[in-house]
C-alpha cells in the first residue's frame, strides 16, 4: 500500500487528533490558578508548537523562547509561575540557564526536558537547580501532570503535616489516616502513596511520578505493580464509603479529589 494523502496533511491530521485525544483528561488537569504563566525554552519548532498548543488548550499562558540566551533574558524579566526548559539549546544550554537563574535568586520551578534519560543525567539536572526532569519522548499527559505538580509545589497551603481531602484526613506526625470517623490502617508504603496523592490533590499523578517519588525507581517495571498498589489503597480508603475519592484517569494516571 502506498501513501495517497500528501505527507503534510498526514502530519497535520495526526497532531490534531493527538491533541484532542487528551481532552478527556483535561478536565482533571485544569491549572489551580487560572491562566498560569509558563515560559517554554525549546529550540525545536515542532515540539514548541505542540507544547504551546496543548498547554494553551489546558488553560496555560505560554511564552516561548527558541534559544538559551533569550530564554534567560525572558525568565529574568518576566513573571512566570513555572518554566519548561529543554536541556540542549543553542546559545546557552538548559542546565547553564537554570544555574544562572538560581544564582540570581530566581526560584521559579523548572521542568527540564531532555533526551538524556539516565539516572546520572537526571541527577545533573536536579543538581543544576531543576525541580523535575522529563525524558523525551514523553506523553503529553505526563508533561501536563508534572507541570501542574510543580506549579502546585509553590503553593504554600500544601506544606504542613495535616492533610485533608473531603472527609479523608492524614496526620503525618501521628501516622494516622481517618475517613470520617473511621480509622484506616495502612502499610508504610501505602501511607507514603496516599500522602503523595493528597499533596497533589486535584491533579493527575502519573505512574512514573509515583514510581519516582514513592519508590524512588527511575525505570518502568513491566508488571503493573503501581496499579496493584493503587487498587489496594482504593480498597482501604474508598470501598466502604459512598463517594470515591481516588479516581483513575484513563491514559494518564490517578487523581485524588472530592467528587
Amino acid at each position: 500500500m502506498t501513501t495517497i494523502m500528501p505527507a503534510p496533511t498526514l502530519t497535520e491530521g495526526y497532531r490534531n487528533i493527538k491533541l484532542s485525544s487528551s481532552r478527556f483528561i483535561r478536565a482533571a488537569m485544569r491549572p489551580i490558578i487560572p491562566a498560569m504563566h509558563t515560559l517554554l525554552v525549546e529550540d525545536d519548532t515542532d515540539t514548541a508548537t505542540f507544547i504551546r498548543k496543548g498547554l494553551g488548550e489546558s488553560g496555560y499562558n505560554v511564552d516561548h523562547a527558541d534559544n538559551g540566551v533569550d530564554g534567560l533574558h525572558m525568565a529574568l524579566n518576566g513573571q512566570y509561575d513555572v518554566m519548561i526548559v529543554d536541556r540542549m539549546l543553542p546559545g546557552m544550554d538548559g542546565l547553564t540557564l537554570i544555574e544562572e537563574l538560581r544564582k540570581r535568586n530566581v526560584h521559579t520551578p523548572v521542568l527540564i526536558l531532555s533526551a538524556l534519560g539516565e539516572v546520572d543525567d537526571r541527577v545533573d539536572g536536579l543538581r543544576a537547580g531543576g525541580d523535575d526532569y522529563l525524558v523525551k519522548p514523553y506523553a503529553f499527559s505526563e508533561l501536563l501532570a508534572r507541570l501542574q505538580a510543580l506549579a502546585r509545589r509553590s503553593q504554600p497551603e500544601m506544606q504542613g503535616t495535616l492533610l485533608q481531602v473531603g472527609d479523608l484526613r492524614l496526620d503525618q506526625i501521628k501516622r494516622k489516616v481517618t475517613r470520617g470517623d473511621t480509622e484506616i490502617q495502612l502499610q508504610p508504603r501505602e501511607f507514603m502513596l496516599l500522602e503523595y496523592l493528597m499533596r497533589h490533590t486535584g491533579q493527575v499523578v502519573t505512574r512514573t511520578m509515583l514510581l519516582e517519588n514513592v519508590w524512588d525507581y527511575h525505570f518502568d517495571p513491566q508488571t503493573n505493580v503501581i496499579d496493584v498498589h493503587i487498587s489496594r489503597l482504593r480498597r482501604k480508603i474508598d470501598k466502604d464509603f459512598d463517594k470515591p475519592l481516588l479516581h483513575t484517569i484513563r491514559g494518564a494516571g490517578y487523581s485524588l479529589h472530592e467528587p
Binding site: 485525544s21 539516572v119 546520572d120 541527577v123 502499610q187 519508590w215 527511575h218 498498589h229 489496594r232 491514559g251
Partner: protein
C-alpha cells in the same frame, strides 16, 4: 618513502647511531691518550739514551782530552753497531750548530739542550731523508767545543704512525660496525612495525579477523602483539555483538513501525467515525510506547555495559531495596493469583548503582511473574554465602532448557515459550550487563518445575 629513508627515521637506527658515535668518541679519546702517552714515553726514552751516550762521551773527555774524544767518536762512527747514533764534535768557530735550533743557547760549560731537527740540518743526505726528524742533545764542552749526539727518529715515527693508523682504523671500524648493527636492528624493528601497520591497515579496511604476528621469541614486540591481539579479539566480539544488535533492532523495530504505518494508512483511506479514529490512535500511542520502552532498555544496557560513572556508586542497602521490591511484587502476585514469598537476609549491603540493581532484580521478577501460570509460586531470596551475596529469583514456570541458558542473555533473544507473551527480549540482557558491571555472575539452573536465576555478587573482591 623508500625503506632506506624510513630506516634513518627509525628510533632503533637513531639510537644505534647515537651509541655508535658515543662509543667511537670514547674509543678515540682512549686511543688518543694511549697514542700521546706512547709518543711522550718514546721521546723520553730517546732522550735518556742520548743523555747516557753523551755522559759516556763527556766522561771520556774529562778523563783524557778532546783528542781522545775525537778518536773515540771516530771509532764509534765506524763501528756499525753504534751507527744508531750520530755524533758531531765541532769547535764553535768551525761551525756553530746551535744557530740551527737554539738561539738562546749559551756557551756556558756543561750546558746541554735537547731538540728535534730535520736531518738535513746535521748531515748531508740524499734529499728524501732531509726532512726526517732527528733528536739531538747538544753539550757545551770547555774550549767552545760542541758535542752533539743525535738519534734518528725514523723508527720511532714509524711505530707512532702505525699506532696512529691503528687508532683511526679502530675508530672507523667501530663506527661502521655500530652503524651496521644499528641498521640491522632498525631494519628488524621496521619490519615488525611494518607488519603491525599492514595488519592494522587491513583491520581499518574492515577485516577484523586479522591478528598481529607473534613469534616464539616472546620479546617486547610479541608481548605487544599479544596484547593488541586480545584487544582485537574483544573488539571483534563487541563488533559482532553490535552487528547482531543492529540486525535484531532493525528486525524488532521494523515490525511495530510497519504495523503503526499500516494502521494509520488504512484509517486515512477510509472515512470512519470519530470513535474508530480515537481507537486507532490510542493503539498507535500504545505501540509507540512499546518502541520507546525498547529503546530505553537498549540504552540502559549500553550504559551498564560501558561501565560509565562508576564514581557515582554508593553503598546500597540491598536488604532494604529487596524488601521494598518484595512488598511491591507481593501485591502484584496476589493480583495475578500467584504465591509469592521472600526470604531476605538482614544487613546486606553492596557497593553499586542502586537504580541499576533495582532494575535488574525487577526484570527477573517481571519475567518470573510473566511466565508462571496461575497458582504457581515466585520467590525472591537473598543471602550471604562464603563471601558472596546471592540474590535469587525462582519460579514454577516452564523453565529454561539447558541448551538455551547462554543464549537467553543475548539481546532480543526470546525463547519459543515466550513468543506469545509481550516483551522485548532485553530484560535478561540488562540483568547480565548490570551483573557484569558489578563483577557478579549470573547463574541459571532448573527447578522442577521452573527456573532459578541467581545473581552472585563477590563481596571479597569489591573495592
Amino acid at each position: 618513502m623508500s625503506l632506506s629513508l624510513k630506516l634513518f627515521r627509525t628510533t632503533a637506527f637513531r639510537l644505534s647511531l647515537i651509541y655508535a658515535l658515543t662509543f667511537s668518541l670514547l674509543a678515540a679519546t682512549a686511543m688518543g691518550f694511549i697514542y700521546l702517552t706512547t709518543k711522550k714515553e718514546l721521546m723520553n726514552q730517546t732522550d735518556a739514551r742520548l743523555q747516557l751516550e753523551a755522559n759516556i762521551l763527556i766522561n771520556q773527555y774529562r778523563a783524557k782530552d778532546i783528542d781522545a774524544l775525537f778518536e773515540s767518536l771516530q771509532q764509534k762512527q765506524h763501528d756499525s753497531r753504534t751507527s744508531f747514533f750520530i755524533y758531531v764534535l765541532v769547535h764553535r768557530e768551525q761551525k756553530d750548530i746551535t744557530t740551527g735550533f737554539a738561539p738562546e743557547y749559551t756557551t756556558e760549560d756543561g750546558k746541554q739542550a735537547f731538540a728535534t731537527l730535520p736531518m738535513g740540518v746535521l748531515l748531508k743526505t740524499d734529499e728524501e731523508h732531509d726532512e726526517d726528524p732527528v733528536r739531538v742533545l747538544l753539550t757545551q764542552l770547555p774550549g767552545d767545543y760542541q758535542l752533539l749526539v743525535a738519534r734518528d727518529l725514523n723508527d720511532q715515527q714509524k711505530v707512532l704512525r702505525k699506532i696512529y693508523n691503528t687508532v683511526i682504523l679502530t675508530i672507523l671500524v667501530t663506527l661502521a660496525l655500530a652503524l651496521a648493527v644499528g641498521m640491522i636492528f632498525g631494519q628488524q624493528v621496521l619490519r615488525r612495525i611494518e607488519k603491525v601497520r599492514n595488519t592494522a591497515g587491513e583491520i581499518i579496511d574492515g577485516d577484523l579477523s586479522q591478528r598481529m604476528p607473534v613469534n616464539r621469541r616472546n620479546n617486547e614486540f610479541d608481548q605487544l602483539s599479544r596484547t593488541i591481539n586480545s584487544m582485537l579479539q574483544r573488539l571483534e566480539q563487541l563488533m559482532h555483538g553490535m552487528r547482531n544488535v543492529t540486525d535484531n533492532l532493525a528486525h524488532d523495530l521494523r515490525k511495530p513501525l510497519n504495523r503503526i504505518r499500516n494502521r494509520l494508512e488504512v484509517i486515512l483511506l477510509e472515512n470512519r467515525d470519530e470513535e474508530t479514529y480515537r481507537e486507532t490512535i490510542a493503539q498507535t500511542v500504545e505501540d509507540t510506547e512499546e518502541l520507546i520502552k525498547t529503546f530505553n532498555a537498549l540504552l540502559s544496557i549500553a550504559r551498564a555495559e560501558s561501565g560509565e560513572r562508576r564514581q557515582d556508586w554508593t553503598e546500597v542497602d540491598l536488604t532494604g531495596l529487596l524488601e521494598q521490591m518484595a512488598e511491591l511484587y507481593d501485591a502484584a502476585a496476589e493480583e495475578a493469583e500467584l504465591k509469592f514469598s521472600a526470604d531476605i537476609e538482614r544487613g546486606l549491603t553492596l557497593h553499586g548503582n542502586r537504580q541499576l540493581l533495582a532494575q535488574a532484580v525487577t526484570n527477573l521478577l517481571d519475567n518470573a511473574m510473566k511466565f508462571t501460570p496461575k497458582d504457581g509460586h515466585v520467590s525472591l531470596c537473598a543471602r550471604r554465602i562464603n563471601g558472596t551475596i546471592e540474590v535469587t529469583v525462582e519460579d514454577t514456570g516452564p523453565g529454561i532448557p539447558p541448551a538455551e541458558r547462554d543464549r537467553i542473555f543475548e539481546r532480543f533473544v526470546r525463547l519459543d515459550s515466550a513468543r506469545s507473551t509481550p516483551g522485548s527480549g532485553l530484560g535478561l540482557s540488562l540483568v547480565k550487563a548490570v551483573a557484569s558491571l558489578h563483577q557478579a555472575e549470573v547463574d541459571v539452573s532448573a527447578r522442577n518445575p521452573g527456573a532459578r536465576i541467581a545473581i552472585i555478587f563477590d563481596t571479597n573482591t569489591e573495592e
